[in-house]
């Protein structure tokens, strides 16, 4: 079995990746991801793993170098945050269209402006439609486990898509937690070296990244869409294998005290733990409330989500991002449109909160719950604004 350590989560994420027999890492530092970049450098400079470390001059080049490396058959890794992810934006959908299973950690941070280095989900949301598998972790252990699993998921022959693991910046990345790091031998058994579907080498000269005319582009979109949706099955399969080998269970949608709840709160990422405590408090006060946590954001786990909210009357979606000038938070917007056609569906309320590092306490979740319950219409609430 692995060893238990007290470790900062960002460092643990890098340690987890170091167990994955990566071939190339191309990382550019940005707060709050930097400890991943720095620790990755430590590991490679100390010769602890056999990989190339490319100290790229930007995140655009980080993801581009990963694209080249992955196309050449390497297991490639990068990590970023906020502005860095925004700079990568252009390349993200290309990488998925090229079916390159690059893995990335995103230390979620608000996007500028104004400049703000603290946590929310406004960086990952603009990347939502880029064709990446997108996972959210709730704590440090999940950061380790999902970082390792992400390679297995991404490289599955049924998938061949890139994968981003979202780790809330500071809230998680800078926490020191008791964590279990699996042993190298265990991970090696779980995750053999990458076997690429095709790779750039003169022994078999192929062309990658070809362009598509109008007679083909739509078909490529369909192919990517089907592949990404199908990835959910593989995510579940890999979760199952992980549980068997390492004893920790995951599912694409998780629930807490949801069975008899008439009201459910929906969260992603680290706020899930605080929300769960709030649920306990509200339960103590006699409210029939529960919690739904989305672990898999893309592909959206439609069936699992619908099963989780079935029978509840009110669903309060907590968003850590806003579609400015749009319908509200991106998670709520998705959820509403997915439920729209259902005969029996809960009322969906949307609270946007915890932006740019504003703390969300248990009390805040209770207050948000009350606020939502009082609402007469379905418009979103931006919680905690000084009026």
């Amino acid at each position: 079995m692995g060893k238990r350590v007290g470790m900062e989560v960002a460092i643990a994420a890098a340690e987890a990746v170091a167990l994955c027999n990566i071939d190339v890492a191309a990382v550019y530092p940005i707060t709050p991801q930097s400890h991943i970049a720095e620790h990755m450098a430590d590991i490679i400079h100390d010769g602890r793993i056999d990989a190339e470390f490319i100290t790229v001059e930007s995140e655009h080049s980080a993801i581009s170098a990963c694209a080249g490396a992955s196309a050449a058959g390497a297991r490639a890794y990068t990590a970023t945050s906020s502005q860095g992810l925004m700079l990568m934006h252009e390349i993200l959908p290309i990488v998925s269209a090229m079916r390159l299973p690059i893995c990335m950690a995103n230390a979620n941070r608000a996007v500028s402006g104004p400049l703000n280095i603290w946590n929310d989900h406004t960086d990952i949301m603009p990347q939502r439609d880029s064709g990446w598998i997108s996972l959210f972790v709730e704590n440090g252990q999940e950061a380790i486990d999902l970082s390792i699993m992400s390679f297995k998921i991404a490289e599955d022959p049924e998938v061949m898509l890139p994968c981003v693991v979202n780790i809330d910046g500071f809230q998680l990345t800078h926490m020191i937690e008791p964590l279990e790091l699996p042993s190298q031998a265990e991970v090696a058994k779980f995750l053999p070296p990458r076997k690429a579907f095709a790779q750039l080498h003169p022994d078999n000269p192929i062309s990658m990244g070809c362009f598509a005319m109008p007679d083909t582009y739509t078909e490529t979109v369909k192919a990517k869409e089907v592949a990404l949706r199908a990835a959910k099955k593989v995510v579940t399969k890999v979760f199952g294998e992980w549980a068997k080998r390492f004893g920790r269970k995951y599912s694409v949608v998780e629930t807490y005290r949801a069975k008899d709840a008439d009201t459910l709160m929906l969260t992603m990422g680290s706020m899930g733990e605080t929300a769960a405590t709030a649920v306990d408090e509200l339960r103590k006060a006699g409210r029939k409330v529960g919690l739904v946590k989305l672990r898999l954001w893309r592909p959206f786990p439609v069936e699992e989500f619908k099963a989780a909210v079935q029978g509840c009357k009110t669903l309060i979606v907590m968003d850590r991002a806003i579609s400015t000038g749009g319908a509200g938070g991106p998670v709520a917007t998705d959820v509403k449109s997915l439920l729209y056609g259902d005969k029996k569906k809960p009322r969906v309320l949307n609270v946007i909160a915890g932006l740019g590092g504003r703390d969300l306490t248990v009390g805040d979740f209770v207050a948000m719950f009350d606020l939502a319950k009082k609402k007469k219409d379905e418009t979103f609430e931006l919680y905690g604004v000084r009026e």
Partner: protein, 102 residues
């Protein structure tokens, strides 16, 4: 050595028939596209004037001029776009460009 695979798939492809990631596995299969139809003039060789220097071969942007068995040169008209470079560069004047007939 690059092996020439002739990937003959039907066209247009259905979405599930596309190669993953729009990869092309048959190196150099652009050769299936005959650019010869672009030309409005074609090069004609007068081998009596040819000194077999190979300059026409060197400067053809299509790489469609080949050496014949007897050391002269000729263009593969399936690909020749009629740019006129070979005729212009053949300094002994062994190549002339002739308008294509309708």
């Amino acid at each position: 050595m690059a092996k020439k695979k002739t990937e003959q798939k039907k066209w247009p492809e259905k979405w599930h028939e596309l190669n993953p990631g729009c990869m092309v596995f048959a190196a150099g299969n652009a050769a299936n596209y005959k650019t010869g139809s672009w030309k409005s003039q074609r090069p004609l060789w007068d081998n009596a004037k040819c000194i077999k220097c190979g300059i026409c071969y060197i400067f053809c942007p299509e790489g469609c001029i080949q050496e014949t068995q007897d050391g002269f040169y000729e263009a593969n008209l399936d690909y020749c776009k009629g740019c006129g470079i070979c005729a212009h560069e053949c300094w002994p004047g062994a190549i002339v460009m002739r308008e294509e007939e309708e």
